[in-house]
Symmetry: C2
């Protein structure tokens, strides 16, 4: 690794050191802010070195656990390694790692599952206490000390500003050509000094292509050459294709009704196979000149860019498969000017989501017949991943969709239940539900009308009659309380049956 071409700032070049040396700046009890969003742009070396350091301390019988703050999910070499050595005490605002998930669910790690647009400002407000060290991956350090961000921006600006000490990882794997792909807004402020964010189009630049850092705070610069997580994507299955079909048809219907322009409105889609299937569906649909104002750039968005159907994407991170990464890396210039990565505070900002009129498409774990959505908890208690940006987008969207197959675990779980076991999106916030059975447009409906529509269009036939029966019996049981009819003794009974018998 010839650092001459990546670390051209004479001051910061003197700080180049090993991951092991860098990790020494982290002590027990500290809070550490790291880069990384959806497995992109996380530090590749220092977390592992820190995990080793923690393991050694534990072997000596010393306490060593830290609070870890990120953009969103990272990768096995970060959350996984630190969880394995039991080095985490607190984690925010998102986690997608299976090892760490287990420790959160056993109660070992305190997990603060927060809206992704809230984290940076709440750190600034002081709600999480001081930030001791930031470990941030970048693509390059320029002669003047400005940083070329990597494949995600996430909360990097906030961590670089808030942390007492900064460790930079310069990753040679990140294309040097990423320079110019970012727009870091430096107009944030604390109330009462905040100003309007002067953005009226998803691709409008309102910031700088670089991250800033006070060189005096940079205690270490570590060079790496390691890929992002780049998880493989399975090709869309029939259920995903069916859901995508319903959703695309509905967009068509909205355009025909004059409620949306023919180029649609800026799209946001959550991470996963259904989202990719929707993008695939849009590939063959008639919409042209689309834009995306979203969190993560998955393969499906590259396809739409390549096909000329999508003009441009604003996001905070890449989230490509190996194949997608290869495609992007082969010719970054092809995408320049059509992809912009922003801080997650901006990519998910309520002000912008509402102004731009985003069409939000997010997955869910389950919905109830009255339109409440659970995005985070399995059977009420165990966390799956986290709410992520789904609340930022859904609440403020022009139109939102929540999508899921109608059943899980081979049909033993119904995704439509009498009452969700956890609420992340309330009945006031959910516009359209989609399963492979159909689509329920809930806009402007009362709870009982929603129930009729959800059961008819979204529930699996194996469960639909029982859901109807539940609502009918609930109406009969308390005729004076029929706004949202429930039988409280049965409301969570389906979940309980699954826990007891393995089947709802």
């Amino acid at each position: 690794m010839a650092h001459a071409d990546r670390i051209t700032c004479p001051v910061l070049a003197t700080r180049v050191t090993t991951a092991e040396e860098a990790a020494r700046h982290v002590e027990h009890g500290m809070s550490v802010g790291i880069s990384g969003f959806t497995g992109a742009g996380h530090p590749k070396a220092v977390p592992g070195a820190l995990a080793d350091r923690i393991a050694v301390a534990h072997a000596r019988g010393e306490e060593f656990r830290i609070g870890l703050w990120s953009g969103a999910s990272t990768a096995p070499e970060v959350d996984g390694r630190l969880a394995e050595v039991h080095g985490l005490d607190k984690r925010l605002p998102y986690n997608g790692d299976p090892t760490l998930r287990r420790l959160i669910n056993t109660g070992e790690v305190d997990y603060v599952d927060a809206h992704l647009s809230h984290t940076a400002q709440q750190a600034w407000f002081g709600f999480y206490g001081p930030l001791d060290v930031a470990v941030v991956e970048v693509a390059a350090v320029l002669p003047n000390g400005l940083l070329v961000p990597g494949s995600s921006v996430g909360n990097n600006k906030a961590w670089l500003e808030r942390a007492e000490k900064v460790v930079l990882e310069v990753n040679h794997w990140q294309p040097r050509d990423l320079e110019g792909f970012h727009d870091v807004y430096y107009g944030t402020a604390l109330p009462p000094h905040r100003l309007p964010i002067q953005m009226t189009h998803p691709m409008q630049r309102i910031g700088d292509p670089y991250l800033r850092v006070d060189p005096a705070k940079v205690v270490a610069v570590v060079e790496t050459n390691a890929p992002d997580r780049n998880s493989p994507l399975s090709p869309p299955d029939d259920a995903s294709r069916d859901m995508a079909g319903f959703l695309v048809d509905f967009l068509r219907h909205e355009v025909a009704a004059g409620r949306m322009p023919p180029s649609l409105l800026p799209l946001q889609s959550g991470v996963g196979n259904v989202a990719n299937a929707v993008m695939e569906g849009l590939l063959t649909a008639e919409f042209e000149g689309m834009t995306a104002f979203t969190e993560v750039i998955q393969d499906g968005l590259l396809d739409l860019l390549d096909a000329g159907k999508l003009d441009a994407v604003s996001a905070t991170s890449f989230g490509l498969s190996e194949d997608g990464a290869r495609r992007f890396l082969a010719d970054p210039g092809h995408y320049k000017g059509r992809i912009l990565l922003r801080s997650q505070e901006i990519s998910n900002h309520p002000e912008l989501v509402r102004r731009l009129g985003v069409v939000a498409i997010n997955g869910m774990i389950e919905a109830d017949v009255y339109g409440n959505v659970n995005s985070t908890h399995v059977m009420g208690s165990a966390i799956m991943n986290g709410i992520g940006g789904s609340g930022d987008f859904a609440r403020n969207a022009y139109l939102n969709f929540f999508v899921s197959p109608s059943t899980a675990k081979g049909g033993s779980i119904s995704s439509i239940v009498p009452m969700v076991s956890h609420v992340d999106h309330t009945e006031h916030d959910v516009h359209v539900l989609v399963t492979e059975r159909g689509l329920a447009d809930l806009r402007g409906l009362s709870p009982t009308d929603r129930a009729d529509r959800i059961i008819e269009h979204c529930a699996h036939p194996d469960y639909a009659d029982r859901l109807r029966d539940y609502v009918d019996r609930a109406k009969a049981a308390r005729p004076e309380a029929r706004h949202t009819p429930h039988l409280l003794e049965e409301a969570l009974g389906w979940h309980l049956a699954f826990l007891r018998d393995g089947r709802m």
Copy 2:
């Protein structure tokens, strides 16, 4: 009533007629948009005339039911009368009337309980279908046809623009001096044509002091002389004073910690006695130069204005007691330039609430040990009022509080429960809970840490041990699912016990 001085537009003066004639423009199956917010500025005559017309039709065996859209709550002469004659089919986005509440809860009326900042835009988006008639109270009609709004603005702008026909009520009771108290923003647009709202201070004017209406659409102008609802306020009881005390102490603590300026940040407070008690608490506190960016101006805010502690209030409506109204009416000029009434789309706008850094204080029905809040439903099924603006403010606030006495119904109901029976504000959105027992600061905590704090500081001693026991047993029952420990067979058992035995 000399209409010469109140209806000086020559064109609209020709449309003056009776309430009975005006009501003839409403037919079965129509959607009617009315003015009115928290019992202020609702039409006083036409709804009653319409109720009579509906009763006559029903006596003839004819169907006659309408959809009713408002700003927020109205008064017995609107929702009450129309409910009594069974004239309502659908109601949105808020209701506070006991007669109508009963019909919603028996399932006769479909109620769409929505965020108050969402209604106008969703009507514009076409989510609710066409609006046939608007019935809007104003204080005066100017020579050029511009309208001086009354004691609330609410959704009046949207209804006047969207409705096919418009009926105006000119209420001589409304002080003519209200002219100049309003700021109606005419910069709204549909995506993708929306622009930033250029407001950076609660009192900044961004619109016009008048409402506009196309004179060609005005089918009737009715003169009235009738007061707003002006419900009496009971003086704060000990519990309210205790809650206010904890809350004001906490603000003091936040200022001392440097997390808030000494003049605080713009205050929002929900409607009711606790909110008034908080205002009373602020009256004797040390904070000076405060502002409010809120929905409703209650008596407590007048007191703070009078005392010179509060510089100014932005809201969408008055919500005064008879005494408060008398005080305001005695000398409106005293408050001019310090009170601004805006459309509820603006008073509650997420963009502005977040930018200004509002401190949001709202009541609740119950909270669970993990920090989910129920603002709307009694025992899971029966609606109380509605979510109102609490979601607009809480989600986007710099800091939010949810307040309630720790018990209700003479101690037979605990406001802190294992699992709320309905969720309006999720665990991701709730910062601070306050009861007369104390205050729980939940910022940056995991669910189980929240449970410890809520049970210790907010629960009533009669219930605290049982709550602790619930959490402990839930942890023990499923050691692999301890992120949000629940016993699904008991989670709603407290509510069920109340329904069965009259006691949790």
